[in-house]
Amino acid sequence: MELHRLELQNFRQFKDDTIEFAREKAEGITVIHGSNGSGKTTLLNAFTWLFYDEVDFETRPDRLVTEGTIAEATVGKQLTVSVRLRFEHEETEYIAERRAIFEKRSEDDFDGDLIDMGLTLEYKQGTSWRERGNPENSLDQILPERLSDLFFFDGEDIEELAGIDNQERIQESIQNIMGLTILERSTRHLEDAAGRFEDEVEEHASDELAKLIERKREIEDTIEELDRKKDDTERSIERTETEIRDIEQKLERLDESAALQERRQEYREDREKLEARVEKINEEIKAEIDEKGFVPLAIPLINETAERLDEMRQDGVIPSDLSNSYIDSLLEAERCICGRPLEPGTEYYEQVAAMKGEAVAEGVEQGAVRIIGHLNQMSDMESAFFDNIDEYIQERKRLHDDITELTEKIDDVGSELQEMDQKTAGGVSVPELEAKRESKENEKEELIGEKGRIEEKIDRNEEEIESLKEEIEEQRDEREEALVAKRRQKAAELVAEELGTAFGELKDKVRRLSNEKIQDTFGSIASKNLTAEITEDFELKIWQDVGGERVEVDKSTGERQIASLAFVGSLVDIARERYEADGDSEYFTGGIYPLVMDSPFGALDKSHRREVSRVIPELANQIVVFATDSQWEGPVEDEMSPKVGKQYWLDFDEGNDSNTYPRTRIKTEPVGGD
């Protein structure tokens, strides 16, 4: 998709204005300069209104018509608001236009009543323009609404992408841009279908079966509810963690508390190390139990057995394999060891033959010998087991003592902090900060406990679902309709499961691709040996290389923003590559997209502005950037100027109450004042 021209009529403070977008690849950036409140965000909203009938205004969200226009109109007059965009998509030119008609109801009605709204989409065929039948759908195919967040974004909160609790957004972005959503949707549809078949089963089922199904559904609802609760709790935990980090950073910045806060951090790190050692010892203990734990308990058994076997051997109850074969050889030779002849049938022959043991299976003696032979080994193992376990337990106790000591020291730091009187620039004292930190810690602990309880409930409910499913499966007294529906339900569930697996694999594939890209983009702009990564859980993380070890970095706003932009850039890049590589898969088509960014330099310091400006031109073929003069001047201008194809300035006139009204004009020359 390539943007050509945007025309606005009576859209908020834009009465009648036009923007032509830069389209040359080397100079693909369009910059729109404007001071705060001059209409930058309104322009961003013009896109989302046109495409999806969505706007997000902070002030007077219902007022779409230009204030001046409606103020000057007579009561009963109908006014047209329109946004018209000319663009090219997959080698076809389009004009999309959304029009809304408002009627002024009274003298002091400045909002107007919405009378009619319509969207048209025309496309060029040869030299003539034709209209598309279903403009909403067509537009959504060209730029899916779920992608809009990614391509029309408010730079001031883009860093959220790399902030906390945004795995979902990252996942969603990944699947959106790759067209994977279709798989997700199919899975969902199949699940819905399975649900409908279940309705059918229920309808035709016996009372008992219907009851089971109802119960199963109730539990499913409960689980859904619990899942939501769990997500909320997780978010709260993360939020609390961020709050704690923020407080600690404040303590680090104050002269009085800096050293103490740092020391506390060291203690904590030491404690973590000790805890890791305890964990290791626990594993060693488990290994001991696995290998030798049965031995001490088995010793009496083996002893008794060995003693008994020995007795039996001595009594000849257990024959010696050796003596039996010796006797056999004597009988065969028909001569005894004493020289007497042994003739079969004689009494003497029978006496010697009787010396052979009972007729028992071969190997009995070997079996007995094996048991006796292992006595020493078992006894050695027993001692080793107790020695090792004692050693581990003592070591663990020492570590626990050390951990307790460190915990006390950490608490002492807290008490010391409670006695300081320095204040932050905002007037908050160290004790206040520390007290707040502590209450946040407690809050976090409580939340973690809460999460555990929720997880337990989920587990229990899931177990119940499993057993209900089995019971439902086993119900036989059903009518034909119920049986058919049940089979269909089962089929739908199976296919949904299969698709779900395929979907997960694809998503992971794209994640890995996107990960490679993000490394490149992020690596080229970020300093300090930083690398960015999208983890298996779809978290955007930043790592720092510290003496060969990879440490996760607490992201500053700037770094978060860079990481987020690098991520968006990586997706745009993958989609573009995919599109250019002759789509070999219908689910994986990709596409070329422009980026429209409102204030991407908003909260950044100078050095980060330079880095962000360096990365933005790499993100997409066509870029529209909104910026205030103070954001633009300096490093941003230095870096981006060579790639800028068009520039506009928003000239905002706030009007006075009586006869002039707020209005922004879009100009091609700089206007005075910021």
């Binding site: 139990i289 734990g293 049965f294 009496p300 094996r370 376990i389």
Partner: protein, 158 residues
């Protein structure tokens, strides 16, 4: 391949899978069998578990008998239970007896560490330490305990 069938419970999942205390189910089973033997607890019926109740476990005989000590344990249990030396060479009988005592041990284990919240490793260690007969009646302390026991018995008899 031949299998030894044994009675399984949720405790197996906890001890073997969740907390990784024993590597294999059969390692835990041997432990349970010696426990059952030591405590004189044996289950003669239903010791193979019930498939429909999900309590049936199976062990490959070869896996099991590949361990020398496990062979010693299984043949000792079978011999003690039957008092027949031929049990020493009857592996089918050994498997059966092992499963019977393991099912007995399982009942004790459920009581001893089945209700432990969290990781039961320490409770298992303590159990082993407490049931180490050799050590508990050795040395001076052992004699005192014994003498004390005798006295108590004497008092009761009077």
């Amino acid at each position: 391949m031949n299998f030894i069938s044994y009675k399984k419970s949720e405790l197996y999942d906890r001890i073997v899978d969740e907390y990784d205390i024993f590597q294999n189910s059969y390692d835990f089973m041997v432990f349970l069998a010696v426990m059952g033997y030591q405590e004189g607890k044996v289950v003669r019926e239903g010791y193979k578990g019930d498939d429909s109740a999900g309590t049936k476990g199976q062990i490959g005989v070869e896996n099991f008998f590949a361990n020398d000590l496990y062979r010693v344990i299984a043949s000792s249990i079978a011999f003690q239970d039957t008092e027949d030396p031929s049990a020493l060479v009857n592996s089918e009988l050994q498997a059966e007896k092992l499963a019977q005592y393991a099912a007995g041990g399982l009942e004790i284990a459920e009581q001893e560490f089945g209700s432990t919240a969290g990781d039961p490793t320490n409770v298992i260690v303590e159990y082993i330490q407490d049931h180490d007969e050799e050590d508990s009646y050795q040395g001076t302390l052992g004699e005192i305990v014994k003498a004390f026991d005798d006295q108590m018995m004497g008092v009761e008899e009077d």
